[in-house]
Amino acid sequence: MSAAEKDAVVGLYAAHQKVYPREVRGRFSRWRIASVIVLLGVFYLLPWIRFDGRQAVLFDLPARQFHIFGLTFLPQDFFFLTWLLVIAALSLFFFTALAGRLWCGYACPQTVWTEIFVWMERLVEGGHRQRMKLDEGPWTANKILRKSAKQLLWVSFALYTGFTFVGYFTPIEVLFAKIRSASLGGWETFWMLFYGFATYGNAGYMREQVCKYMCPYARFQGAMFDADTLIISYDAARGEPRGSRSRNTPAASRGLGDCIDCTLCVQACPTGIDIRNGLQLECIACAACIDACDGVMDRMGYPRGLIRYTTQTALEGGKTRILRTRVLVYGALLLALLIGFAVSIANRPLIEIDVLRDRNALFREVGADIENVYTLRLINKDAQAQTVHLAVRDLPGAILESERPAWSLDAGEVASATIRIRVPASAVSGGHDIAIVARTGDGSETVARTRFLAPVAP
């Protein structure tokens, strides 16, 4: 084993020691708590909100329809989902270039759920020193009681999380009724347990290891960074040489910097690093070390910000540029995609047609006419009822016949229509591309293309 490999081994192995982050209070922890409450609040409450007589946000997989506040999306609209994912990725780039790992510190589900699980742990087992002592100590009645209470909280919360998750796919009120009557379906039970277990494992046990070993974003976020990106950094020029001293001692008088080497920043770190060693891959920019250090600086009577949000440029005495090429390019692209997305959502056809050719016969000769039969699936994606008229286009002399002159479709309704398209035999030969048009009351049209087949004229 080479020396480099030995180092790597030591690093990986040492990192596996359990981290007991010390609880801190401060500006940034308040921001994080606010973010946790808002994000989890949305996650847990959204499925209970109703809109237009149905669950406002429901990804109805069995029916292959997604409902989002009165908008209905079908598998054919997959394009929008892709677009949305591109927007999400670009937003991540944009915010990373601007403000570093904001996502990791405040919004990532891993952070958010871990925060709640740590909070529950703290509630039952106490602060970080008590937790350490409890873990090291023997299995006393007290330890068994506290550990079981924690597990009870964790498991219940994880199960409720799984229930909420499945509630996005099965109407949550139906799901709740099914649980009460113990008539839950097999897959519903399975996914509830699956998601619940994932939450329990990730937020209860894996925690920072997910960020360190499993998260792809943590590895490539560096590519979005530059010298003007907001990072959390220790001001070494101000802090060094570090050393302990009694309260209210002017640091300079003892030849020391402002860092009193209390190691609170290290104890507070949920990933177990020392921010004073510089920017590290493990840092999820949660700012717990800033809060810890600011508290110490206040007590020492030193100015805050020995550890602070800053940029490399600022640390080197330069002036941070916010508007720079990278940010402008990401921003412009993001804006263009967002506008395009909104416009195309607003203008998307609200009637969808699927055309299926009759499988039994390619064509039929009816008197002097050639007839093709199609089955249409008409889908109303609008939140209101629509009346649809059908017509055929791009085939001179063609007539469209169906069992009804017009189709009334309720919101979200899917109807099946059989249509016959008939053309004088003299007018066609071989295959033709035709268009079937569905026109709604307000004059908007949806066009579906298909083939019309006729015998080849001799």
Binding site: A14, Q17, L61, P62, R64, F78, W191
Partner: protein, 104 residues
Amino acid sequence: MSAITDLSAYRRARRGQAVGVVLWPAFLAAAAATMVFFAIFDPTKLGEDDSPPAWLADRMTGYAIGFFFFWIVAAVSSSLTACLLAPRVAAHRSGRPRGRRSSV
């Protein structure tokens, strides 16, 4: 920071990480593949002549089977990558017998 005192504990930890590193990217890939695949294909219309095998008749079953199928495929690929990546280097440098390559 503690040095290595117990190599088997290190190996256990390393194996645990390897499981995470293999399964998690495979999970992400499978989630994406499932989304794309089932956006295009309806599981109940997968069989010949639009009549799927009985075990696929229910859409939720179809989605779930599809998801796990993709996950397994991606995990196999990830674990092969993991196999091919690290140990060969370690085996070369340490000159340990071939049979023990996979242990670290």
